[in-house]
């Protein structure tokens, strides 16, 4: 019974801490993972070093999709490493639980900052092989400390490991990003905003466009955009961030929300080239969904068939097939239309207008267009679009009113309190330093307009 105390303690600690501190990190490991019973997957797998470890890791990672399974599997893995270490040491005559606990939990903490649980699985398989090899050895009389000491030390090591993992900045950063990614993939905008706060975005700028997309979805972009560290247009659309994982993932989500399936698929394909297996569960699910949405049922069915070769996609595939059964595939465009079809550009604003021109209307488009014009400091364009596209009697969001004050236009649509604040800003502008102004007016459009250098997008 005493022998079970330490492993139970380890399992409980790993499960609880992983559930609290790594819940979304583990879920996102499934998003980037792949396990398919198809020849190309296995061919690729067996070209890698440690193919068995990769195979077991990929297999187990599938189950991380469900939030409790990941921590549970992790707890089993770490505990198994502990038990195997204990068995191995006892075979050579040592019975030092604290050393085993140190080894297993040290590996857990180190693996926590890795993109997969591969190190843990590889260690487990290596230890299992070593234990098998030592089975024929005659057990030696164990050298052991007093149980009481050993248990206290093991408990202390568990506490230290938990403390180390919880205080590891890389683990916290990964969890925040994973939460944002999960929330974006499943359009959980409140969850996204809860995680990508302005303070966190200040430390990790990549969160800003995702937070702004969430604000956009909730219709709050023009009210709260500048509470985030926005210094140029690319903070809104990631247009200048190149083809990083984050920007491709963001653009796939953005164009999905804008209703432009083609461009979302384009970015998903680009993203797939960054995945270890050349694709991933998340990408395959998205490809199936996006092809269904654009009416390409043949390809949607192809991705469904591929997903069926994994262990846990039966329900998802049924959902897509039910949707297709209830819908109509899109007929192919006539060659004449194809020849004249507008092409996606490198300018996100122009792309939104092209999408709208194609008759695809998204609830986020108008606010996005107006905010992009604001971030470009194109007040003429903003005023012209605002006048043309919005209801003149409706209340204007804060940043629009701030822009109108700056442009000296349509003052009747501006809240008097805001006009007063603008007067104070004008008065303070001559007397206060940029830093003081930032402290007082950093979340206003006037500050953005005057202080952020669009070329260098630097802070004042």
């Amino acid at each position: 019974m005493k022998k079970a105390v330490t492993p139970l303690l380890i399992a409980a600690a790993v499960f609880t801490v992983s559930l609290i501190a790594q819940r979304y990190t583990l879920i996102c490991q499934e998003y980037d993972g792949l396990f398919l019973a198809v020849p190309d997957y296995f061919r690729q797998l067996f070209r890698k070093p440690l193919p068995l470890s990769h195979l077991v890791t990929d297999f187990l990672t599938q189950f991380f999709r469900f939030s409790v399974y990941g921590p549970a599997i992790l707890a089993v893995l770490v505990t198994a490493v502990f038990l195997l270490l204990r068995r191995l040491l006892s075979a050579v005559g040592l019975q030092l639980e604290c050393i085993c606990a140190l080894g297993a939990l040290g590996l857990w903490v180190w693996t926590a900052s890795r993109p997969t649980v591969l190190p843990l699985v590889a260690a487990l398989l290596f230890l299992a092989a070593a234990v098998l090899l030592t089975l024929p050895l005659k057990a030696r009389k164990p050298v052991r400390m007093k149980d009481r000491h050993d248990l206290s030390l093991s408990s202390a090591i568990v506490l230290c490991a938990v403390g180390a993992l919880l205080s590891f900045p890389a683990v916290r950063r990964a969890e925040t990003w994973a939460k944002v990614k999960h929330a974006t993939a499943y359009a959980q905008w409140d969850l996204l905003l809860e995680s990508a706060t302005p303070e966190r975005a200040e430390k990790n700028r990549v969160l800003t466009p995702f937070a702004l997309l969430a604000l956009n979805e909730k219709g709050l972009l023009a009210d709260q955009m500048l509470t985030y560290p926005v210094t140029w247009q690319s903070d809104l659309d990631m247009a200048e961030q190149g083809d990083s994982y984050e920007s491709l993932f963001f653009r796939a989500a953005l164009y999905d929300r804008l209703g432009c399936g083609n461009e979302s698929i384009h970015n998903l394909f680009q993203l797939s080239n960054m995945q270890e297996h050349g694709t991933s569960f998340l990408i395959l699910r998205q490809l199936a969904l996006q092809h269904y949405r654009i009416g390409n049922y043949v390809l949607a069915e192809k991705y469904c068939r591929i997903l069926e070769r994994s262990s846990l996609h039966g329900q998802y595939v049924r959902y897509i097939r039910d949707c297709m059964a209830a819908g109509e595939p899109r007929p192919q465009d006539a060659p004449a239309r194809l020849a004249e079809a507008p092409l996606i550009t490198h300018d996100p604003l122009r792309n939104i207008l092209l999408i709208e021109n194609e008759g695809i209307h998204s609830p986020i488009s108008l606010e996005r267009v107006l905010c992009t014009l604001l971030l470009r400091r194109n007040l003429d364009g903003f005023w012209e679009s605002l006048d043309r596209l919005t209801d003149r009697s409706a209340r204007l969001p804060r940043h629009y009113q701030e822009a109108l004050l700056l442009a000296g236009a349509a003052q009747e649509r501006v809240d008097p309190q805001l006009a007063e604040q603008y007067s104070r800003f004008q008065a303070d502008f001559a007397s206060l330093s940029a830093k003081q102004l930032h402290k007082r007016y950093g979340t206003t459009y006037w500050f953005y307009y005057i202080f952020y250098d669009q070329q260098n997008h630097t802070n004042p």
Binding site: L36, E263, I265, N296, L338
Partner: protein, 444 residues
């Protein structure tokens, strides 16, 4: 042991009994199978053609060969059902015209702008075996493309390896060398190659290519050239020369292909445009030819075939026949659903769509076997996105047989593979594996 034997026998009896319980009704129709192998012509010794029922039913098949025809009878039933259908046998014709034993192709994710893993592969036609010739693991992850085996010779090959330290890799008689064409002569990089039958020269097109992505049409990608020229490389001197009629700003020349006697070069040509993306629907490539003698091009190009409403690409001659891809406009037919293969009789100038080969979806890159009796081409008819290879017999009189999908061990492999087959070429022997040789070029 006896117990084991008894168990095995009981199991076999049980299985037999369960099969025997299914009653089959005869159908005069051929079976709805996927892919459609009914009535295709295959070479002797081809890997077996594996298929599935199009509706996913379970099935068994029996084959009977009578002369040069294989009759396949299919019995299909629903899982758990006691009734099934026995379909009318369908024929598979067997040709004695030999086929080259290998096909080489590139496997790549349907191309957007970037890639991860890609490689050139060889498939043995008498089996299902596929082996890498060279993968981009050997080139530091760069793109490998436009492979070419002159006359299907497995001992000679070239391909481009893009990226840092890249260039055109020549593999000849066990030697490997790399040359960055952009550093030689007129400083133009090579794209589509055509190796002269004599082996001394290689004509390349030099293209500036761009991809674009339609906002909302059913065509996901458009690819076009901003400009392109033809260049000629002399392998004896490693020099590159230009011939001004096919290297100028007024026209875009691409897809070179030598006539079998090496006396003329076929290529495709269109007028240049200041804004190709905008004008793309009005860009129609014509088929042209240029004379070649004593190691240089002579004279002006002459038009072999042109149209105001169609565009040609990938001319591939064999004897008097020339097989090419015809699409509505532009230079990259693989993304055009309307792209079809057409056959030109160069003696009388008559050209016709090769309807036997074509489908409602894209047909594109094609090549002849070394004896001109078979063609392999890529088609997107299976799912509209991932190109697969089809092979058809040619009777030498201008007629093709119904093409068959390159067979796989399981039909499902065609659905499950997430990569496209690109630029298939027949090869007369095993091209071997060159990863180590090529990686040494990149290690220098």
């Amino acid at each position: 042991m006896r117990r084991l034997l008894l168990s095995a026998l009981s199991l076999a009896a049980l299985l037999g009994a369960s099969c025997a319980r299914v009653q089959f009704a005869d159908s005069p129709e051929p079976p709805p199978i996927r892919p459609d192998y009914a009535g295709v012509t295959v070479p002797e010794g081809m890997a077996p053609l594996r298929f599935d029922m199009a509706d996913g039913r379970r099935f068994s098949s029996t084959e009977v060969r009578i002369g040069d025809t294989l009759f396949v009878t299919v019995r299909a039933w629903e899982k758990g059902s006691r009734t099934g259908v026995r379909y009318a046998p369908f024929p598979i014709y067997i040709s004695h015209d030999p086929i080259d034993p290998y096909i080489a192709y590139r496997l790549i994710q349907p191309s957007y702008e970037s890639w991860r893993e890609m490689g050139l592969y060889a498939r043995e036609l008498s089996s299902w075996r596929e082996r890498p010739i060279v993968t981009n693991a050997a080139t530091g992850g760069g793109c490998v493309n436009c492979h070419h085996f002159p006359g299907g010779d497995p001992g000679r090959m070239l391909f481009h390896a893009r990226g840092p330290g890249g260039g055109t890799v020549f593999l000849e008689g066990g030697d490997a060398r790399i040359l960055n064409l952009a550093t030689v002569g007129p400083h133009k990089q090579g794209t589509y190659p055509a190796w002269h039958p004599s082996g001394r020269w290689v004509a390349f097109s030099s293209n500036s290519t761009q991809q674009s992505f339609p906002v909302a049409s059913t065509q996901p990608i458009e690819v076009y050239d901003h400009f392109s020229d033809l260049i000629l490389m002399d392998l004896q001197t490693d020099s590159i020369t230009l011939h001004s009629p096919v290297a100028n700003l007024e026209h875009m020349e691409t897809f070179p292909a030598w006539s079998p006697d090496g006396k003329q070069l076929y290529f495709c040509s269109a007028d240049s445009s200041a804004d190709v993306a905008k004008d793309r629907a009005r860009i129609h490539y014509a088929l042209k030819a240029l004379d070649f003698a004593d190691g240089r091009f002579t004279g002006e190009p002459r038009t072999v075939w042109e149209s105001d409403t169609l565009s040609v690409s990938f001319p591939r001659p064999w004897g008097k026949w020339l097989l090419l891809t015809v699409s509505g406009y532009g230079t990259f037919p693989i993304w055009h659903r309307e792209a079809d293969l057409w056959l030109l009789d160069t003696e009388n100038g008559r050209m016709r769509p090769a309807d036997e080969l074509n489908s409602d979806d894209t047909e594109s890159y094609h090549s002849w076997s070394s004896n001109g009796r078979w063609v392999v081409f890529s088609s997107r008819r299976l799912d509209g996105r991932y190109t697969r290879l089809y092979i058809a017999h040619f009777d030498g009189e201008g007629h093709f047989s119904k093409p068959f999908l390159l067979p796989q061990k399981k039909m499902s492999h065609n659905d499950l593979r997430l990569r496209s087959y690109n630029i298939p070429e027949f090869v007369q022997g095993d091209p071997g594996k060159h990863d180590i040789q090529v990686s040494k070029l990149f290690a220098r």
